[in-house]
Symmetry: D2
Subunit: 368 residues, 4 copies
């Protein structure tokens, strides 16, 4: 019922597109995690608007200000609150009575009995993913200190397709190179096709969507729980909280339904004395729990609903059908900016799972 | 961290495949809901094994015994606990040292430090979905009393495909007819193809998977919350708790990424003075909140991992590579039995969302 | 909103006085904890009715049956469900229309809109503390393996008073001897006075209450959290869930308000290189967090509301004032049986806090 | 494990005494509650330091800035974040190596592995009650709109005692007059004695504690739940989160243990057709649920631990015993400023319980 996520680390986000600020409270962070403001700023910049021609021209510096829970450059373990001011708001762009199709205008009106802040989508704005990216920027270095890295790329845009991660034995150097490209891809030869799609959409007052694939390396076997706290349940709950996400699949995902059991099963094998699987159709998760293989999942991101093409809609004040053309400043494609949001979302879940795993058994009771 | 789900209605499940019993505690149920044992038994029978040639020959009567939380045929509002005894267990079928590929044997071993009950998959058994079906059987009549119905069918099996729900204006009579068929389908002409796939799989000691599509009618606009408690987050968390589910998508799902914004957006219109959308690519959810259109989602169910074909695996005791052929009694395809599990899972989430919605605003503060 | 308690270990209780069974689900238990049925039975017997002249003649064997979450004598880490059958129910003793003063008859009626099971107090029955004692019997040995012991005694009965624990340097042998006495006291010379009070109450169709003092030894410093998850908040929430508890105080409790700061403050000192306090007015808790001193708290238990003396009340059916004399089988004093309930309640909280503490910091980040 | 409280309304607080700001996030507020900044400021001023001779001379304007969750003067229902800047910090007053007796210095060090912000007590500072008062100022008008009012007074200071609330039939005008007095008392003739106690303590570099009694009027019967979510559990968990609280009792509290059942039981009667009780020893709560009578509870507040009298302590750096005299700016008695904190704490719990109660039953299922 609340904008709070997590078991050991509780993440809470607040703010509206045009409120004074948006922000995040991180509670339950381990004490003593280093806070690297330079790295945080770098991550924030990956999501921030106005960086290049792929995104909205609304410029926001998106520099988070940490007001609590840190001391001498480290987390204290008490609630860490960070604010990001909203500086570049143009409320006059919005006509609240015209419901923007596939936006949350109508549902917000119904959910909040007409009291929601409609300016810029209010609390439903994609801007609320900035606090997620901030949280990810705090937690990724923690995960990295345990050997865990998270990568994501634009697997497809419209009908164009990038290469995919090697789910069994990923090339870490290649994974790390994704961020070197103007668009986050594994195979840079796809960049012109992706670019053209976005440019066409912008020119046509339209938008495009895509699929983001993510890979998490070195997660130890044994994280997560069966059923309601499965790793799939936890990750999907977080991923579906990101605006515009309409599908989540693990490993081969929907494709696994077209395989026979003998094809889909991931046979176990030994590699240098470690138990591995030969294939990874299950995306590193069996029975809701990590099996030590790379975690792999894909996320469907719908085309930006804000388009300036005229659309049919309803005027909620007059209760008449009208036409709307959304002007304001919008992304023809939010997929490029969503890549680091997906990474951050995954980092939040993984850090929580890692902490939880400490409570699964007493060292003294470990079976010989 | 726990097998507990829900905000207003807390659902907790317990048990192992070969423990004395499996069961469920439902806490926070509204007081005064009628308990119809005949209906419960009918729903349980839809999931129970040994009913027909599509499922495992392990027969379990699966008659739940309600031991608390009911009085004079109605819920009391205090925790309702129901047990289902495990009567037909054949533990000798299991060799715990051989890890069954794509099962939870290895991950359970790691998660529980070697202490888990490995017999029949223990707590990871598909049998644990019986308590979900029980919960659904308590809650579906409650939803029905509010006009809400939930339907599901086998959208595809392997590469064979059934018709799909009309997501804008579903024919309720057709939806209700699904249960009349031997397999849950919209178009009965697909039954022979589905049957053949399952029969082939059984004969070849193999298995097949499929996609289940679900439709929820008459959910009022305004349920759910933005971000972490989005309807998609809530439903997906529950759906991914069901063993073998590897993908969840809402509305057009992954397919929406191949549409332009102008195609994907669901234009608003007025129908008899009510706000509707002309299409329903978003599956009845905008910004994480129901918009009053039918809720539509699809779930990928992988092929049963238990196959008697020989598979490569590792012996965890001897740490050597070996071959396993899983005998025991198994389903060549669990998709038909999973249909009512998906319905129950959706019913649990919807009932919880309905109760929650009562706390969203004070009647006295409703905007004029 | 639910009968679920705890963060790492989730405890859920269910059942009514006259339902088929009462029981408990323990979720999040560490895997591999030994289950000692003999010890469990011994603890259950301490609370069970009909054991001696101090308690109700209703006899219940109260032998818990564990149906899940255990394997080969140890916890598996998956939800452990135990139930206790209700065998000795005499529902005809109850007239639901006459509200028993200071019982939950009226509040249950209002809370559950008339649907609650009123027989024997239903879910509000003191019998529901049996599942707590069971949980305590699972967790006390776990705590003991970490050096932590929990003791409780009847500090006062009516206006009669036992000795009190030495809160600074308790004599463990004396603490362990409490259970040797017919009534749980530190100073056995008070037993005749306590006995007389109970006997008088029984003879006069009346009842008496008392105060239970508890002591927890060897809890490490650093458990708990500031504010809402303070050790006091956690313990009191659990203790006030026990029927008849009307007050909880830590250390010197209400008495501390009559001291000056210079008297109330617990000066720090070193004892064999360990930081201790010279006094323990704060009951081992500063800022909501354990300081390594013994935890000490007291709990006020009101006189049993079930008395056979005639009392004024209201008939809720006829809405008239009437007189009630509660016959049935009741304790003239529940304090003796509540002692092990208080111990169990404390054990549940302490075990949860111990597990939580594992998530407070990364070993790698510990300050030098 | 987190600084988050509540079921329907989630309250989260953050900040340290000397961090940039302290604050609060209120999630799950009903949409449309009016926000009256003047009233908020008035409530904040009741707690703020430096107002009169009874409190610390540290002056903080304590004007909260609401940065989200409000629109056009009303709550939107999305997370409302407010922060209060820390402007008047004098960090040089603190010597972190000398553990202040009965403060959280030592426990914070142990809990947070040496990483906590020790300046001014950090997150453990009484300043963190300002966000509670803010939350209370948002929620009290909501409660008042339902007829519910909350009053508190200084029942005792040291060994001096004020009158007590009439728990059966309180005089609301007298209750409302409490705030007219310089110190919150029912009987103003006690003010000189209270004043003298505080003045003496200040002059002697010492401090005094007291008991605060609270009364909640017009809470409807049927709020709360049995066991873990009892009204006593909920209120006590919140009250014990307030620094310096060491005891909580409901109704006659510890005193009830000295009564016989026949004296302690609250007989039911009819008053103008409404069910009432003739006495109110149970403080308006039976079986954990409100019975419609006034809610009455008392809270023990220990003497301020910060005293400038020399005290024995340990230097945690050198591990030697030393003497400390706490200078800085401190209250000789925090009880006067705690009165509105207790009221706010109660308001938070009551508002949450009121919202929850909407989910207890379906109107359609109400028993005739």
């Amino acid at each position: 019922m609340a904008n709070i996520f997590g078991n050991c680390i509780k993440l809470s986000i607040f703010g509206e597109s045009h409120s004074d600020a948006i922000g995040v409270v991180l509670d339950g962070l381990p004490a003593g995690l280093p806070i690297d403001m330079e790295n945080i700023q770098k991550e924030m910049a990956r999501r921030a608007p106005g960086q290049n021609r792929f995104s909205t021209p609304r410029k926001e510096s998106d520099i988070p200000k940490i007001v609590s829970g840190h001391f001498q450059g480290k987390t204290t373990g008490t609630p860490l609150c960070a604010f990001i001011e909203n500086t570049n708001t143009r409320s006059k762009d919005y006509q609240p009575e015209l419901l923007r199709p596939s936006h949350a205008d109508y549902t917000a009106f119904m959910r909040y009995h007409g009291f929601s802040d409609y300016r810029g989508g209010g609390h439903f704005s994609g801007r609320l993913t900035a606090p997620l990216v901030f949280a990810g920027a705090i937690l990724k270095p923690y995960l990295a200190s345990q050997g865990i890295e998270i990568f994501a790329h634009i697997k497809s845009l419209g009908t164009e397709k990038d290469a995919v991660f090697d789910a069994v034995c990923p090339n870490i150097e290649v994974c790390r190179s994704i961020q070197n490209h103007e668009l986050a891809v594994l195979d840079e030869t796809i960049i012109p096709a992706y670019t053209k799609l976005i440019d066409n959409a912008r020119e046509n007052c339209d938008s495009v969507g895509g699929v983001i694939e993510a890979l998490i390396t070195n997660a130890p076997a044994g994280l997560g729980s069966p059923f309601f706290e499965s790793v799939e349940s936890r990750l999907s709950a977080m991923l579906f909280s990101i605006p515009a996400v309409k599908g989540v699949e693990f490993g081969t995902g929907f494709g696994i339904t077209e395989l026979l059991g003998s094809e889909a099963n991931d046979a176990f094998c030994l590699e240098k004395g470690k138990i591995k699987t030969k294939t990874n159709h299950n995306g590193g998760i069996n029975g809701g729990i990590t099996n030590g293989m790379p975690l792999v999942f894909s996320v469907a991101v719908k085309p930006t609903p804000s388009i300036s093409k005229p659309q049919k809609t309803v005027n909620i004040e007059t209760q008449t059908e009208e036409t709307i053309a959304i002007h304001g400043r919008h992304d023809p494609c939010i997929v490029p900016r969503a890549v680091c949001v997906i990474e951050a979302a995954a980092a939040i879940v993984m850090a929580d799972l890692l902490l939880e795993a400490k409570t699964y058994a007493e060292p003294a009771t470990k079976r010989d």
